[in-house]
């Protein structure tokens, strides 16, 4: 069973709202990473509002599903989703990256309700997610662990250490999603350090692989359901995305990995997002 039309519309509505909130938030604090937050919007939204079982009133509920934002710089979009879920008040988003805030520049599991793992230094999230999956299996728990990686991130060697371990232990309760937006801080991934045939690489490491358009909630949803059905090995969903998605002057531009948004840029972006492009 795929997404109903109604649910698809709800998720798309949330994505639109979250992009707008992201622009408001990053413009107001003049710091943070827009590009990678915008490319991950549909993925994070589908997970939190359609797939995952979590309890904002009891963030440490033992049987909750886990989400690890391995590409920790997309923290603003995670915070927006968590606030909408009710893990903390939405007004707190305005304190992002500011002194005494619970919303750190990169996710901190100690400070922010709903954040499962502190991330930021790239590459560690997949290994940790596999640890969570292993812990679930040993204890006979049914929860799933979802982990979102950036495509620049998989240049880190540890990701491939984790890839081997995931296959060796057949950790099938972990679903990795690759936000393949093709752009990293210094430029296009293909120029900085080409990844080659990403799907073939993961296949050869013993993973189940799927490919989706990472801006279509119904495709993301279907792939996750498919991943749940595959036993004996972990799944990675390669989500083709656009860095800066939704704000045309940010799309595909590495300069928008992380830079402050000017007033004129903010107004143009909001106009575009309101227009429902």
């Amino acid at each position: 069973m795929g997404l109903t039309k109604e649910r698809k519309a709800v998720l798309e509505g949330l994505c639109k709202q979250f992009r707008r909130t992201l622009l408001d938030t990053l413009y107001s604090v003049q710091t943070g990473h827009p590009g990678g937050s915008l490319s991950a919007t549909e993925i994070i939204t589908t997970l939190y509002f359609e797939v995952m079982k979590v309890d904002p009133k009891n963030p440490s509920w033992e049987d909750r599903d886990r989400f690890v934002l391995a590409k920790g710089h997309a923290a603003p979009m995670l915070y927006i989703a968590l606030a909408e879920k009710g893990f903390f008040p939405k007004e707190e988003l305005k304190t992002l990256r500011q002194l005494n805030s619970r919303l750190q520049g990169h996710p901190c599991a100690l400070k922010t309700p709903g954040v499962e793992l502190s991330t930021g230094p790239l590459g560690l999230g997949l290994s940790a997610a596999l640890g969570m999956g292993l812990g679930a299996r040993i204890q006979g728990k049914q929860f799933h662990t979802y982990v979102l990686l950036g495509d620049g991130e998989i240049q880190e060697g540890i990701v491939w250490e984790a890839a081997m371990a995931g296959a060796k232990y057949g950790i099938d309760n972990v679903v990795a999603i690759l936000d393949k937006n093709g752009v990293q801080l210094d430029g296009p991934v293909d120029q900085i350090m080409p990844l080659g045939d990403v799907r073939a690489k993961w296949n050869s490491f013993g993973w189940n692989t799927l490919e989706v358009n990472g801006h279509k909630v119904e495709e993301i949803y279907d792939a996750i359901q498919e991943a749940h059905r595959v036993k004996g090995k972990p799944t990675i969903i390669i989500a083709h995305t656009v860095k800066g998605k939704g704000v045309s002057f940010m799309e595909g531009k590495h300069a928008w990995h992380g830079k402050p948004i000017s007033k004129a840029e903010y107004e143009a972006a909001i106009k575009e997002l309101e227009g429902g492009r």
């Binding site: 100690l110 991330t119 230094p121 040993i138 060697g157 540890i158």
Partner: protein
């Protein structure tokens, strides 16, 4: 005084893990292809379902352990001490320490104890790294009994712990073993009034030998085993400074950033007295017989005696 050569610390560690595995069904053990050396192979034989040899991929090992700890398991991460710091350093800082995860880090072959493998495998900066991490507990046992107690204490404590483990047989120290091991508390192994010898790990028994030699010169040396480098027993250190007026710190570690640094930081603030440091003097060591290395790189009881004499001179000049 130092008794006969006891069991190798790593063997005691491995056996203790097996015992603890009975009481704690939530202990899991990770190793990175050195299970025979770390002696976690014993745990693996007893509890194959809770043992994970992840291959030569230390960073992944530490990060997986961080993840599994969030599900209520107590992971022990095992590799050589030098790799624990240098290969696992990022997940240890960014996941384990930052988030106070309940992960135990067992760095074996510490100091120069993996002597023949050479400077690439020696570990003389691990204390400096580990004690600079907020939230990290740093344990450095002196002999077999300490090792067992430290491993048990690590499990009982909820949070990140680094266990510094020696490779070789260490002499049992009766004065040490008759006292209980309390995390965060130093042990006074021998009383004295002229100077305090503060040591950790293998150097504790060297300090006991040095105290005997000093006694022959009519010098009364107190000996303190600091098995918990962090949190440091600063009250005890302050009392020692006050009561003996001089300190020598001895450790199988660089003189930069280890126990010596920790003691100097505390004493400088609480009760400044002359202090000298016995340790590896800002150099890489080399391959060779373990005792020969300790001799060449300045880690014998005679070196402690010399350092004590320096302190006593300064103390005299000051007085």
């Amino acid at each position: 005084m130092a008794g006969a050569a006891g069991k190798a610390m790593r063997q005691v560690y491995g056996e203790t893990l097996v015992e603890l595995g009975k009481t704690y069904p939530n202990i899991v053990v990770f190793d990175a292809d050195v299970a025979n050396s770390t002696r976690t192979i014993l745990f693996g034989e007893s509890y194959p379902d809770r043992f994970f040899d992840v291959g030569i991929a230390e960073m992944n090992m530490a990060a997986m352990a961080a993840g599994i700890s969030t599900t209520g398991m107590i992971p022990f991460v095992n590799t050589f001490a030098c790799f624990m710091v240098l290969r696992c350093g990022d997940p240890i800082r960014s996941l384990v320490a930052y988030t106070k995860l309940n992960v135990k880090l067992a760095g074996t072959y510490a100091g120069l104890s993996d002597s023949y493998d050479g400077a690439s495998h020696h570990s003389i900066l691990d204390i400096a790294f580990m004690r600079a991490l907020p939230n990290m507990v740093v344990l450095s046992p002196a002999d077999a009994a300490d090792m067992k107690a430290a491993t048990e204490a690590a499990v009982q404590y909820k949070g990140p712990v680094y266990l510094r483990i020696h490779r070789n047989e260490c002499p049992d120290i009766p004065e040490n073993d008759t006292q209980p091991f309390t995390l965060g508390k130093g042990k006074v192994l021998r009383d004295g009034r002229d100077i305090t010898l503060i040591a950790t790990g293998y150097m504790v028994h060297r300090a006991m030998e040095a105290a005997l030699k000093l006694q022959q010169q009519g010098i009364s040396a107190r000996v303190v085993n600091i098995h918990t480098i962090k949190p440091l027993d600063t009250n005890l250190l302050r009392d020692c400074a006050k009561e003996t007026g001089g300190i020598v710190v001895a450790e199988e570690h660089s003189i930069h950033g280890g126990l010596g640094g920790a003691v100097a930081e505390a004493i400088g603030r609480l009760y400044p007295v002359p202090i000298e440091f016995v340790g590896v003097r800002d150099t890489f060591a080399e391959s060779g017989d373990y005792q020969a290395l300790l001799e060449k790189y300045g880690l014998t009881s005679q070196h402690i005696v010399k350092a004590a004499e320096e302190v006593l001179k300064k103390k005299g000049a000051k007085g």
